[in-house]
C-alpha cells in the first residue's frame, strides 16, 4: 500500500512541485553534460593531437564538478525542506489515520527514491541532448575541425559519475527526510497551515537611513573595486566584498519600507490591486532580505562568470590568432649559441620534402640583438631588431601596410613570425641594422595546396629524418599547433565559465522560485478573499504575476548592477588583450539568463497560479 501511495504522491508532486522536479532535472542535466566532455568529438580530437589543454580541462572539470555537486546538494536539500513544509498537513493526516512514524518515513524515503530516479533519467536524457548541442556548437566554433568525427552518443563514464554523485545526494535527502519525520510532532504538523505574517511598522527615518547607508557602503565597495582593480587580493579586497554584501543586504532590508512610503502618497497606490501587490511584496522582501542578498550575489557570479568566459574566449582569438601569420616558421638559433645562417629549403630537400612542390613561399629574415644605446628601446622588452627593408618586404608579402623611414625606430606593428616571439621586435634603419650583431634567422613558410595534408607530410618527414638540422639549434612553430592550443584554451575557458555560470544561475532562480511557491498556501487564502470581494480572474492573475515578477526582478537588478561594475574592473585586468563585455558575450549571457531565469519565472507563475486557483470558489 505504501508503494501505491508513494507512486501516486510522486505523480502529484511532479505536477504540483514542478519547480522541485525541474531543479533536480536541470542539476542532473548540467552535471551530466559537463562530465560527458570526454566523449565529445572535439575533445576526442584534441586528445588525439596531444593537446596540452585536454588534461587541464579534465582536471578542472573534476574539481568544478565536486564543487558543483556540493552546491547542488545544498540546493536540493533546501528544496526538499521546502517540499516537506508544504506537505506538513498531509503528513499530519497520515499520522491521524494511524500510520506510525516509521511507515511515514518509509513512504517519504520511497518517494524521494522515485523522484530521484525520475529526475536522474530525465536529466540524463536532457543532458545527452544538451551535450550533443554543445558538441555541435563547439564544432561550429572551430572551422578547421573535421566535421565527420562528430556523433550522438551516451557517455557511460558520465552516466556513472552522475548516478554516483546524485545517488549520494538523494541518500542525504532521504536521511534528512527520515530524521525530520521521526522528530516531528503531530500537533505541529496539523497546525502548520496558518502562518501569521508579522508586518511590523518601521519608522520611515530608519528606513531612509538604512537605505542611504546601504547605498554608501555599496558605492564604497564599487569605488574600491574600480580604483584598485579586481585582482589585488589583500585586506582592502575583503573589505570591498564585505561592504558590497552589507550594502546589498541593507538595501533589501530597507527598500520595502522606503518604497512603500514613497508610493503611498501617490494616487496610483489606491488603484486596482496595486496596494495589495506592493504590500505582499514588501512584507516578503523584508523577511527574505538575507536570501535575496545571496541570490543577488549568485546572479552576479552567474552573469560575471558567463560573460567573462565568453568575452575571454573572443579575446583569446584576437590575441592568439594574430600570432600565426604563416603556416610554419623555422627559428634558427645557430650553432652553440652563435649565429649561423642556413639554407632551410636545402635542409627540407635533404630530408625528403620538395620545397618547390609543397611550399608556396619560403622567406628568410635575419633579426639582430637589440642594443639599447643604439635603438633607444630596452632589450628587456624588445629582444630583437629588424631592418626596415626586411620588415617592409615581409609586410608586402602579406599585403599589410609598410613603414616609412620617418616612422622608425619603432616596435613592429604586426608580428613577423609565428609563435610567442611575435612581439618585442624593433624596426630600425638598414644602416643601423648593419651595425648590430645578428641574433637569429627566421624562415617563414606557407604551404601549397591543402594545408592539413602538407602539414602532416612535413611533420612525418621531419620525424623520420635523421639530423634534419645538421647540428643547428632549430625550432619549428606550426600554425596548426597554435590553432589547436588556441582551441583547447578557448574550450577550457568557455566550458568552465558556462558550467559554473549555469549552476549559479540555476541555484539563484530555483531558490527564488521555491521561496515564492512556499508562500502559495498563504497566497491562496488571500486571493480567495480577493475573489470574493469581486476581483476578476484577470485582475488576480495580473496581481500574482506582478508579485512574482517583483520578487524575481529586484535581486536581478542588483545582481546586474554588481556584474556591470565587476566587469568594468575585469576589463582593466585583461585590457591588454581586449574587453570581456563584448556585444557577443553580453548577448549570450542575456540569452542564457532569459532562458533559465525566465523559465523559472514562468514555472513559478504557473505553479503559484495553480495553487491559487484550486483554493477558489
Amino acid at each position: 500500500m505504501s508503494c501505491k501511495l508513494a507512486f501516486r504522491n510522486v505523480g502529484r508532486s511532479i505536477r504540483d512541485y514542478a519547480v522541485y522536479f525541474l531543479t533536480l532535472t536541470f542539476g542532473v542535466c548540467l552535471f551530466y553534460t559537463f562530465n560527458s566532455l570526454g566523449d565529445q568529438s572535439v575533445m576526442k580530437f584534441l586528445a588525439q593531437n596531444d593537446n596540452p589543454n585536454v588534461e587541464g580541462i579534465f582536471l578542472l572539470m573534476g574539481v568544478f564538478s565536486a564543487f558543483v555537486a556540493v552546491v547542488l546538494a545544498g540546493l536540493i536539500l533546501y528544496a526538499n525542506q521546502f517540499l516537506m513544509k508544504r506537505r506538513k498537513r498531509e503528513l499530519g493526516t497520515y499520522f491521524l489515520l494511524g500510520m506510525d512514524s516509521g511507515r511515514v518515513s518509509r513512504l517519504l524515503v520511497l518517494e524521494t527514491l522515485l523522484i530521484g530516479l525520475a529526475a536522474l533519467i530525465s536529466g540524463v536524457a536532457l543532458g545527452a541532448l544538451a551535450s550533443w548541442a554543445l558538441d555541435k556548437l563547439t564544432v561550429s566554433m572551430f572551422l578547421a575541425t573535421p566535421g565527420e568525427i562528430f556523433s550522438f552518443t551516451l557517455s557511460r563514464p558520465a552516466v556513472g559519475k552522475t548516478t554516483l554523485y546524485f545517488g549520494i545526494i538523494f541518500l542525504l535527502v532521504m536521511a534528512f527526510t527520515g530524521v525530520n519525520v521521526s522528530r516531528s510532532r503531530l500537533i505541529g504538523l496539523i497546525r502548520s497551515n496558518r502562518t501569521n505574517e508579522e508586518v511590523a511598522q518601521r519608522p520611515l527615518a530608519l528606513a531612509v537611513a538604512l537605505f542611504l547607508l546601504g547605498c554608501v557602503s555599496l558605492g564604497t565597495a564599487y569605488a574600491i573595486l574600480l580604483v584598485r582593480g579586481l585582482l589585488r587580493i589583500d585586506l582592502l579586497w575583503f573589505l570591498m566584498l564585505g561592504l558590497g554584501t552589507l550594502g546589498t543586504f541593507l538595501i533589501f532590508r530597507s527598500l520595502s519600507g522606503f518604497l512603500l512610503r514613497l508610493t503611498k502618497g501617490h494616487p496610483g497606490y489606491y488603484k486596482g490591486l496595486n496596494m495589495f501587490v506592493l504590500r505582499q511584496w514588501s512584507g516578503k522582501v523584508h523577511t527574505n532580505c538575507a536570501s535575496n542578498t545571496v541570490i543577488s550575489i549568485l546572479l552576479l557570479l552567474a552573469i560575471g562568470v558567463t560573460a567573462c568566459s565568453v568575452g575571454l574566449n573572443d579575446t583569446i582569438t584576437s590575441a592568439v590568432g594574430g600570432q600565426s601569420p604563416y603556416d610554419l616558421t623555422v627559428l634558427n638559433y645557430g650553432r652553440n649559441g652563435d649565429y649561423e645562417q642556413a639554407d632551410v629549403s636545402a635542409l627540407f630537400l635533404a630530408a625528403g620534402v620538395d620545397p618547390q612542390a609543397v611550399f608556396s613561399k619560403v622567406e628568410s629574415v635575419t633579426v639582430y640583438y637589440n642594443n639599447e644605446t643604439a635603438t633607444g628601446f630596452p632589450e628587456a622588452g624588445f629582444y630583437a631588431a629588424i631592418s626596415l627593408t626586411a620588415y617592409n618586404s615581409i609586410m608586402e608579402g602579406r599585403s599589410l601596410p609598410s613603414l616609412s623611414p620617418e616612422d622608425i625606430p619603432c616596435p613592429t606593428p604586426d608580428p613577423i613570425v609565428n609563435g610567442p616571439a611575435a612581439d618585442g621586435v624593433v624596426v630600425v634603419s638598414d644602416e643601423l641594422a648593419s651595425r648590430l650583431v645578428p641574433r637569429r634567422q627566421v624562415v617563414n613558410i606557407n604551404y601549397r595546396g591543402d594545408a592539413a595534408t602538407v602539414d602532416a607530410l612535413v611533420r612525418q618527414t621531419l620525424e623520420g629524418a635523421q639530423d634534419f638540422t645538421g647540428g643547428l639549434d632549430i625550432m619549428i612553430n606550426y600554425k596548426l599547433d597554435n590553432y589547436y592550443d588556441l582551441m583547447g584554451a578557448k574550450i577550457l575557458v568557455l566550458y568552465m565559465g558556462l558550467y559554473l555560470g549555469l549552476v549559479f544561475l540555476l541555484t539563484a532562480a530555483a531558490v527564488l522560485a521555491l521561496q515564492q511557491l512556499s508562500q502559495a498556501a498563504d497566497n491562496a487564502r488571500r486571493y480567495k478573499l480577493l475573489s470574493r470581494l469581486g476581483a476578476s480572474e484577470t485582475m488576480r492573475r495580473k496581481a500574482l504575476i506582478r508579485q512574482v515578477a517583483l520578487a524575481f526582478l529586484l535581486p536581478l537588478a542588483l545582481g546586474v548592477i554588481h556584474a556591470f561594475v565587476g566587469m568594468k574592473a575585469a576589463n582593466e585586468v585583461i585590457q591588454v588583450m581586449g574587453r570581456v563585455d563584448s556585444v557577443h558575450s553580453s548577448l549570450l549571457t542575456a540569452g542564457l539568463l532569459l532562458l533559465i531565469y525566465g523559465g523559472y519565472f514562468l514555472a513559478t507563475c504557473f505553479g503559484a497560479w495553480r495553487t491559487v486557483r484550486t483554493g477558489e470558489d
Partner: protein
C-alpha cells in the same frame, strides 16, 4: 416597492445519486431595501448553503435568486466578479481581512477593486471607518486588532462601496459578548442611519435579536418568520428563544 433580494424555489442538493444531501428544498422569500434580516436555524439546517448561494460562492441546483433585479444563476466569469464587487458586501465568520494590509487598506481594497477614483479612496474609507467606530485601528494590521475590531473593519469594508445587500455569515461566531454587542450595534446603526440592507446568518439568539425580521430554517425549508415590529430587543429575544426551543436542536447552540 421592488425587493432587493428575491429568492424563489431555491433548491440545493449536494453529492451524487446514492448519497445526496438536500441542503435546501424549495425556499421562497424576499428582502426589501433597508431591511435588517436574520436567518436562524439549527446546525445543518442550510443557513451557510443559503448564504453561499446568494453570495454566488455556490450554485443552486434549482430555483432563482434575483438581487437588485439581476438573476444570479446566469452570472459567470467577469459579470460574476462585477456583481460581487458592485452589489454585495461580505462579512465572514473569520479570515475576513488580509493580513498584509492595514485596517485602512483593507477597507480601501473594496473600493480599489471596484475601480473607484484613487483620490477619493482614502476619504471614503475613513468615512466608513468612522461609521463603524474603528478609526483608531486604521493604521494597525489585523494581528494587532481584537477580534471585534477585525469584524467591524470587515463591516466597514462591506458597506464602503454602498452595496445593494450586505451578507454576514455568523459574524459574531468568534467574538465575546462585549464585542458582539458593539458589532451588532454598529450594524444596526448602519441599517437605520444609512439605510443599508443586511442579511445576517446566525445560530445565536442574542445576535438575532438585533434584526428586524427573522427567517427560521429547518432541514432546508422555511419553518417560520418572526417580525420584531415595535417590540424592544429583550422581548424579541424571548420570542426568538421560544421559536428556537420549538425547533429543537441543541440548546447549547442557542444560549
Amino acid at each position: 416597492m421592488e425587493p432587493i433580494l428575491n429568492v424563489h424555489g431555491l433548491q440545493k442538493t449536494y453529492g451524487g445519486r446514492g448519497t445526496c444531501t438536500k441542503a435546501l428544498q424549495g425556499l421562497d422569500f424576499r428582502v426589501f431595501p433597508g431591511e435588517f434580516v436574520g436567518v436562524m436555524g439549527p446546525s445543518g439546517s442550510g443557513k451557510t448553503t443559503l448564504l453561499n448561494c446568494i453570495s454566488t460562492i455556490d450554485h443552486p441546483t434549482a430555483g432563482s435568486i434575483l438581487v437588485d433585479g439581476s438573476e444570479l444563476t446566469a452570472l459567470k466569469g467577469k459579470a460574476l466578479s462585477q456583481f460581487r464587487r458592485e452589489k454585495l458586501g461580505f462579512i465572514f465568520q473569520d479570515c475576513n481581512l488580509l493580513d498584509t494590509l492595514t485596517g485602512l487598506e483593507n477597507i480601501a481594497l473594496a473600493l480599489t477593486i471596484g475601480g473607484a477614483e484613487p483620490r477619493s479612496v482614502e476619504r471614503r474609507a475613513r468615512e466608513a471607518a468612522r461609521l463603524l467606530g474603528v478609526e483608531e485601528v486604521l493604521d494597525k494590521f489585523p494581528y494587532q486588532m481584537s477580534g471585534g475590531q477585525q469584524q467591524r473593519v470587515a463591516a466597514a469594508r462591506a458597506m464602503v462601496t454602498g452595496p445593494a445587500l450586505i451578507l454576514a455569515d455568523e459574524p459574531t461566531g468568534a467574538l465575546d459578548s462585549k464585542s458582539t454587542g458593539m458589532l451588532l450595534g454598529q450594524l444596526d446603526k448602519l441599517n437605520r442611519e444609512e439605510g443599508a440592507t443586511i442579511l445576517l446568518v446566525t445560530h445565536d439568539a442574542f445576535t438575532a435579536s438585533w434584526c428586524r425580521r427573522i427567517l427560521f430554517l429547518r432541514d432546508g425549508e422555511l419553518y417560520r418568520e418572526l417580525h420584531r415590529r415595535s417590540m424592544d430587543r429583550k422581548a424579541f429575544f424571548r420570542e426568538i428563544l421560544s421559536v428556537v426551543s420549538e425547533l429543537g436542536g441543541d440548546s447549547g447552540d442557542v444560549l
